[in-house]
């Protein structure tokens, strides 16, 4: 399994990613943690809005829509 660093703005439909770390100090992050986006969580991009943002991801057996900019405090790696 190869892993490479991924930015939220580069997420594409169908892509799988894992959260490596999260910056707790940023405004949005506590809520992202509560919704299940903590280090170790794997997710898949399900949908991308027609105008490119927000995106819908599949994690912990449910789907969540977030903005790319607000996922900026997550460090991600791409999974094959």
């Amino acid at each position: 399994m190869t892993e490479k660093i991924l930015k939220a703005k580069d997420l594409k439909r169908g892509m799988k990613a894992r959260v490596v770390s999260i910056n707790e100090e940023e405004d949005v992050c506590p809520r992202l943690l509560e919704l299940g986006l903590f280090p170790g969580t794997e997710f898949q991009v399900v949908k991308i809005a027609p105008l490119g943002d927000p995106i819908e991801i599949n994690l912990h057996g449910y789907k969540l829509c977030i903005r790319r900019s607000e996922a900026g405090c997550l460090r991600l790696v791409e999974l094959d």
């Binding site: 999260i22 919704l35 299940g36 170790g40 949908k47 027609p50 903005r67």
Partner: protein, 720 residues
């Protein structure tokens, strides 16, 4: 591991039961199933957050049922959440029983909030919803296993079929008779638990009684409410800080540890109590629908067509009802009027003031009910969330978000339902911004003014293409002005952090018609009460200002005779009416402040018409009819043509024509931007819970209207 304990009795008159759960867990359906239609929608004290309370009878005793807004966690990130959480946790306010609404099709995420709730002192039982969805996906929930993990009763319910409601009520009776505090151990890391034990010991030494779970809460979340009583006491808080440092070293990743522990527990609970396919089916029905409806091309096309259809049908479906109401109003006025002919002042008050005032409120009811019918259906099917998903990029960049689309679009029909629909906004700040800019959208009551002025001034000079373009421009200007207003509000007035956009797209389903009906009825009630009272009062006041003092009819007749005319007939009656309005309080005031509006190109007649239209802008066309002396009833085409003529031939005292294209443009800009609608202001007051924001909306819009109409007239006139 249940301990029976004595919970302090609350000071409330009726025992209170609260429904708590994640957004979209099926809380509202359950609420409706438990209470029937007996719900009251209000605000939490002092804030704009919707509070829905109903009543239900258990064993012959009345109970209050509180529908707490959907929560993801007990750590608030917005005022709305703070208010909802306070309603649960604040001492003395705590409900006697919490029904945790658990979505069986999304156990892990839904168990996160449960795990937090289970650590409070609250008396909790679980209503398991959406088991029908699990079944459809070939899954099953082992209730005994789930119940033993959660440590409380778990009752499966399918609210819209009313299955499980009786069992749930029985469980509520049992839980109320025997309140228990849950003792849930989600299995935090050993190092955290050891620290918690040390904190408890230390606190005991200082004489502070602290539970282990409360100590753990403070360790992992420095804002945990159980820490409130000693956070300000440095000796005690130091104990906590030292232990925190031991756990996390220098990198404070406390919240990560907390979330990871809870999700690990939740996924264990799911493993033990969920039987069925572990990997969900790749393409559900909803996914197939979404493949089209959120498609980058077809999704947008469908959205635009749907919105066009909705607003087109609001106009066409409401029109016959509005005609009936209008006809009824006229018939009633004609019926009452002769009875009061002995007392002209009372007659005028009842006919022109009261009946007109009430009529002008009720006439919007069909539009409002139809709009909310559509919104409720779109919400019920799950499409509303898709609309927000599609539109977020468009509205998000200036500080709003995708959900603002519906309220803003509604405002093109009428700002009142728009302001009311702003409740779809997830937080107070974006709701307030939406409420404040909604009245800038060009509502249908502005249309008659545009039609009159464009028809009288633009079309004869420049032809139908420019007339159509002007009409489009007038509808666009409000939207164009709204963007900088939102930017300024966002940067200047609402300081502090912006809320993230996070939402779920619920599965598509048929709307529950009972819920749809409830929404429509409750919104109609809200509208009638808030808009009704204020519009009614203001109409009476404006009537009085245009009616008093009564002028000398003999003098007016003499003026008429001096012009060599006969003192009878409709034209004479009309002249008398016009002179009376001219000499009324408002008419004189209009003359006095004419200089204020002169830079915008308005004479005293236009000024008075504008002033008279402040309570409700639809008054302006009849008012211009009176003031320009062409008949106050302009419903027929002939009268409209006659008003157009009078406007075109109106002159300044020095003989210059009054109505240049730039006067018309300036007047239309004024009407497009000015907040001439008391009912909207009343709706803003109700939705924001303060006259302050209503006054703010009125102030900024009037100022914008004044400045921009002067700019249009002055700049335009320079160029001819």
């Amino acid at each position: 591991m249940l301990n029976s304990i004595d919970l302090p009795k609350s000071a409330r008159a009726l025992p209170q039961i609260a429904l708590v759960g994640n957004p979209n867990a099926g809380k509202t359906s359950l609420f409706n199933a438990l209470t029937g239609s007996r719900q009251k929608i209000g605000n939490y004290p002092g804030v704009t957050v919707e509070k829905i309370v109903g009543s239900l009878e258990l064993d012959g005793v009345q109970h209050e049922l509180l529908d707490v807004p959907g929560l993801y966690s007990l750590t608030a990130i917005s005022t709305d959440e703070e208010v909802a959480i306070d309603a649960l946790l604040e001492s003395g306010q705590a409900p006697d029983l919490v029904i945790y609404v658990l979505d069986a099709s999304n156990l892990e995420r839904n168990l996160f909030l449960f795990s937090q709730l289970a650590e409070t002192d609250l008396n909790v039982i679980v209503a398991l919803t959406l088991t029908d969805v699990v079944k459809r996906e070939q899954g099953e929930i082992d209730l005994a296993a789930l119940s033993s993990h959660l440590g409380c009763e778990v009752i499966p319910v399918v609210a819209y079929k009313e299955t499980g409601i009786a069992q749930l009520k029985d469980a509520m009776v049992r839980a109320l008779a025997d309140p228990r505090e849950l003792e849930l151990d989600v299995g935090f890391p050993q190092i955290v638990l050891e620290s918690a034990d040390r904190v408890v010991d230390q606190m005991n030494r200082w004489g502070v009684d602290l539970k282990r779970k409360d100590a753990r809460c403070v360790l992992l979340d420095e804002h945990c409410t159980t820490g409130d009583r000693f956070r300000e006491i440095p000796e005690l808080w130091n104990v906590v800080e030292e232990e925190r440092a031991k756990i996390f070293g220098h990198t404070v990743q406390a919240k990560t540890v907390d979330a990871q522990s809870r999700y690990a527990w939740a996924s264990k609970v799911k493993r033990d109590s969920y039987i069925g396919p572990t990997v969900p089916r790749k393409f559900t029905k909803s996914d197939r629908i979404d493949a089209v409806l959120t498609h980058r091309f077809f999704g947008l096309v469908f959205f635009l067509l749907l919105m066009y259809g909705v607003f087109q049908s609001i106009y066409t479906l409401a029109a016959p009802f509005m005609d009936i109401i209008d006809g009824g109003k006229t018939a009633f006025a004609d019926f009452v009027s002769p009875m009061l002919s002995g007392a002209p002042a009372v007659q005028s008050l009842v006919v022109d003031g009261i009946i007109e005032g009430i009529g002008s409120v009720i006439i919007f009811l069909p539009q409002i009910m139809i709009l909310f019918l559509f919104i409720a259906i779109l919400e019920g099917t799950g499409y509303l969330a898709r609309a927000a998903f599609l539109m977020d990029r468009l509205l998000g960049w200036c500080g709003l978000n995708g959900r603002a689309f519906i309220p803003l679009l509604s405002s093109f029909a009428c700002a009142i339902p728009g302001v009311m629909a702003a409740r779809v906004m997830p937080d107070q700040r974006s709701r307030l911004m939406t409420v404040l800019v909604a009245p800038l959208m060009s509502c249908s009551a502005r249309l008659p003014v545009y039609m009159l002025l464009i028809g009288a001034v633009i079309e004869p000079r420049y032809g139908p293409i420019w007339a159509g373009f002007s009409l489009f421009l007038m509808h666009f200007i409000g939207l164009a002005v709204a963007i900088p207003v939102v930017l300024v509000l966002n940067k200047g007035i609402f300081k502090g952090k912006r809320l993230p956009f996070m939402m779920e797209l619920p599965k598509y389903q048929w709307p529950r018609w009972k819920d749809v009906l409830l929404t429509v009825v409750s919104r109609a009630k809200v509208f009638l009460v808030t808009a009704g009272t204020i519009i009614f009062a203001m109409t009476v006041i404006i009537w009085a200002l245009l009616y008093f003092p009564r002028g000398d009819e003999k003098a007016y007749s003499a003026e008429w005779v001096a012009q060599g005319k006969v003192t009878q007939g409709a034209e004479f009656e009309h002249y008398l009416e016009m002179r009376q309005r001219e000499d009324s309080i408002l008419g004189r005031f209009g003359r006095t402040i004419e200089p204020v509006f002169k830079p915008a190109g308005f004479d005293w007649r236009l000024t008075t018409a504008i002033l008279a239209a402040f309570p409700a802008r639809e008054v302006v066309v009849p008012a211009m009819g009176i003031l320009f002396g062409s008949g106050s009833d302009i419903e027929g085409e002939e009268q409209e043509a006659s008003l157009m003529n009078s406007i075109n031939s109106a002159k300044w005292p020095d003989g210059r024509p009054l109505m240049t294209p730039w006067t018309a443009a300036s007047l239309m800009v004024f009407f497009a931007l000015c907040c001439q609608c008391m009912a909207t202001l009343a709706a803003i007051k109700r939705e924001t819970n303060s006259w302050k924001w209503a006054a703010f909306a009125f102030g900024y819009m009037t100022a914008l209207a004044y400045v921009l109409s002067i700019a249009v007239y002055q700049i335009g006139s320079r160029f001819g």
